[in-house]
């Protein structure tokens, strides 16, 4: 009776409390993420600048424009090339390093782990600049190659489209391998040592244990790192801007870099830039979805 007077049962009260606790985060996400997304979509349907933005005629003309934009298409190709080459190499390296550093008998474990993780503590801009100077025609790498007698004069790494792409991929691998390794290390530590012991008793060698025990048990972590890497690579910006400026001849420009140029370097076209950003968003969503589906083995 009492509870009726107050209008709420104990369970209803608890539920209400739950909602109240959820509210701040929900509101924040809605205001900070969903509202801008919706606004971006609306802007992507508009043309013009500043206060003179108006809806495009026809309404999807910005999206149509993407189909005709050769530079943007090139940036998509570049970005996917980075994705296809860099992400697998990086994740395999990360998992191998994690496996090595998870060795029970390894000494100075903390030191090695710190070393591998350290690149992630470097700012994106500064490491890009360091790579740029290292790979300059008179930079460190060329000096070493000349000293070793491999080259006679400095090779213009950043001036050649193939080698400039390789430099970006190398830079990305250096920067992000340690980051992914940490996730694998955490995953590995959740695998009971007794499982490995049992496998050993059954006569499995290192290779077999890795594929039959480590990889399946790490699967959720692997899927997570895959999604994060795909997401990160599709939004690649700093390396393209600072390492190569997108050059030579747009051969290393990424999608985000081109979006930025469209807003802030060229005559501002926020409508078109938003349309391109939305396309990137859709690509990330689709790839993440496929990834989740492929990785999900539950019936």
């Amino acid at each position: 009776m009492n509870s009726k007077k107050k209008g709420m049962t104990l369970i209803a009260k608890q539920r209400a409390a739950g909602w109240i606790f959820l509210l701040p985060a929900t509101l924040m996400i809605a205001i900070m993420s969903f509202y801008p997304m919706i606004r971006a979509f609306i802007i992507s349907l508009q043309t013009g600048a500043g206060a003179n933005m108006r809806f495009a005629e026809p309404i999807f003309s910005n999206y149509k424009r993407i189909m005709a934009d050769k530079v943007f298409q090139q940036s998509i190709a570049n970005t996917f090339l980075y994705l296809i080459i860099q992400v697998p190499i990086m994740l395999v390296l990360a998992i191998l390093l994690a496996q090595l550093l998870n060795n029970k008998d390894l000494r100075f474990k903390g030191f090695f782990r710190t070393c591998v993780f350290l690149p992630c503590a470097t700012s994106l801009v500064s490491y890009s600049l360091i790579f740029r100077s290292m790979f300059a025609t008179d930079g460190l790498i060329n000096s070493i190659l000349i000293k070793l007698g491999i080259l006679s004069t400095g090779y213009n790494f950043l001036g050649n489209s193939a080698s400039a792409k390789v430099v970006i991929i190398l830079a990305l691998i250096w920067r992000w391998t340690g980051y992914n390794m940490v996730f694998y290390l955490a995953g590995l530590q959740n695998i009971e040592y007794s499982v490995y012991e049992a496998a050993k008793i059954d006569g499995a060698n290192g290779w077999k244990t890795f594929w039959k025990i480590t990889v399946p048990l790490l699967k959720p972590t692997i899927i997570m790192t895959f999604i994060m890497s795909i997401n990160g690579t599709l939004q690649l910006f700093d390396e393209s801007v600072n390492l190569t400026k997108g050059g030579p001849a747009n051969s290393t420009i990424t999608m985000s870099h081109y979006v930025y140029n469209t807003c802030f370097i060229n005559v501002p076209n926020f409508g078109y830039a938003s349309a391109m950003s939305f396309l990137i968003f859709i690509m990330v969503a689709v790839l993440a979805f496929i990834n989740l589906k492929v990785g999900d083995t539950r019936d």
């Binding site: 043309t47 013009g48 600048a49 500043g50 206060a51 424009r65 005709a68 934009d69 050769k70 530079v71 740029r132 100077s133 300059a136 025609t137 008179d138 213009n156 950043l158 001036g159 489209s161 190569t244 400026k245 997108g246 050059g247 030579p248 001849a249 747009n250 807003c263 802030f264 370097i265 060229n266 005559v267 501002p268 076209n269 926020f270 078109y272």
Partner: protein, 428 residues
């Protein structure tokens, strides 16, 4: 206990940083203070502060509040504010690159105040310099630092190859190529260094002919543009013949100079500040005019690259004061220009200033040449050309074409691609 202390500290820092952002109000409430965005502490900012001090002598309580904002940030902040339709965060006066202004005026015409009523004899500035900040016949900006192009050469390297500065003065690019090839063979050095992506060399060549990669109607004009084709072919030849060293970025550009790999530079005269920082090359450099394009009737030995002007934003509460301040300092005072030259090295494009004693003093770094008056003189000869809001787009397109041609693409295809890309970027 420790955790508590940490928490208190963090809260304190957060509170402090919030307070910090809350107090940075841009447009000054005080009627007698003008806020200014400008970059470069020793150059633009110094000049603006000195202008403020000079004006304050006759105007009690006047002050300028210069907020250091890098050139890129000035543009990004302007774009952001203007696109949000909220000009209230803008300062009273903003410094802007000459090459960017047309783009801003096209996109955000109501972000700036026109200077129709300003009391300045505009013809005291070079015709070309004025045109950067003009639309139709209306002035929007007060020209400030000079962007006249100069050619700088290492006289010691020239001598080694058997040439003098006179051999490179008022010459054509074909002569330049001849000397450059010979010099590269004899010394292994390059007569010119140029940035591959985002480089200005090609733009300067075009401008020196009074031409641009757009036509008078503002359309992309690369294919079928005789001058453009000549300039691009010339530039490609220079690169292929080891006369020009093509570098990837500004660091490498500078290091070809400091490292002694380059025997020459063609760029806006602001490059002298960079040169003068290489103490060990003191006395080795001298300046002269840039080469001119062969077989083009309108070709000259003069062009402009870079440089900037002061603009009054539409957020300025006291336009009259701002106009009077700019007019009586940057717009008319040779005393002022004489004062800022030694203090900041800012070379004016106010032509009467070039006649003063300070401007005619010999410069030791450049082997005793009176470079300042020379530069001001050059700036009076620069031909006018059609401006476009799509300056950066056209630069990107033609530089891409050059790289593609150097890498083996056919000239015809590369030019067609540049034309198509530029035309595409000009549509909405």
């Amino acid at each position: 206990m420790k955790k508590k202390l940490l928490a208190v500290l963090m809260t304190g820092i957060m509170a402090a940083s919030f307070a910090g952002t809350a107090t940075s109000v841009y447009a000054a409430d005080d009627d007698n203070t003008l806020t200014v965005w400008a970059w470069d502490q020793n150059f633009n900012i110094k000049s603006m502060q000195m202008a403020g001090e000079q004006y304050a002598k006759d105007h009690d309580g006047f002050a300028v509040d210069v907020i250091e904002t890098s050139s890129d940030d000035c543009q990004t902040k302007l774009t952001t504010a203007a696109n949000a339709g909220d000009y209230s965060t803008l300062p009273d006066i903003v410094l802007m690159q000459d090459n960017s202004f047309q783009k801003y005026l096209k996109s955000y015409p109501d972000a700036f105040t026109d200077l129709k009523d300003m009391d300045v004899n505009w013809d005291d500035f070079g015709k070309l310099k004025q045109s950067y900040s003009m639309v139709d016949d209306t002035h929007y900006g007060v020209p400030f630092d000079n962007g006249a192009v100069i050619a700088c050469y290492r006289t010691d390297v020239l001598e080694e190859a058997g040439y003098t500065l006179d051999d490179l003065t008022d010459i054509t690019w074909s002569k330049f190529m001849e000397i450059g090839k010979d010099l590269h063979e004899k010394t292994g050095k390059y007569l010119l260094t140029s940035e591959a992506t985002g480089g200005d060399t090609l733009m300067m060549m075009m401008q020196s002919c009074g031409a641009n990669f757009v036509n008078e109607d503002g359309e992309a004009y690369i294919v079928g543009n005789d001058v453009a084709e000549k300039c691009i072919n010339l530039y490609v030849d220079l690169v292929k013949n080891d006369v020009v060293k093509l570098v990837n970025n500004w660091d490498e550009y500078i290091s070809t100079i400091t490292g002694g790999e380059a025997a020459g530079i063609v760029n806006g005269n602001w490059i002298t500040a960079t040169l003068m920082s290489t103490e060990d090359q003191k006395g080795l450099w001298q300046i002269t005019t840039m080469p001119k394009v062969d077989d083009v009737e309108s070709a000259t030995n003069y062009a402009n690259n870079g440089g900037s002007s002061w603009y009054i934003t539409s957020n300025c509460k006291n336009v009259e004061l701002a106009e009077d301040f700019l007019a009586s300092t940057f717009g008319s005072s040779t005393d002022f220009y004489d004062a800022i030259l030694p203090a900041s090295g800012a070379i004016s494009c106010y032509l009467p200033a070039g006649e003063s004693k300070v401007y005619n003093e010999p410069n030791e770094f450049f082997g005793g040449q009176p470079i300042f008056s020379t530069i001001v003189e050059y700036s009076s000869h620069i031909p006018e050309f059609t401006k476009t809001p799509y300056h950066y787009e056209s630069r990107e397109c033609v530089n891409t074409a050059v790289i593609n041609i150097v890498n083996g693409a056919s000239v015809e295809d590369a030019l067609q691609e540049a034309q198509d890309t530029l035309a595409f970027k000009m549509t909405e």
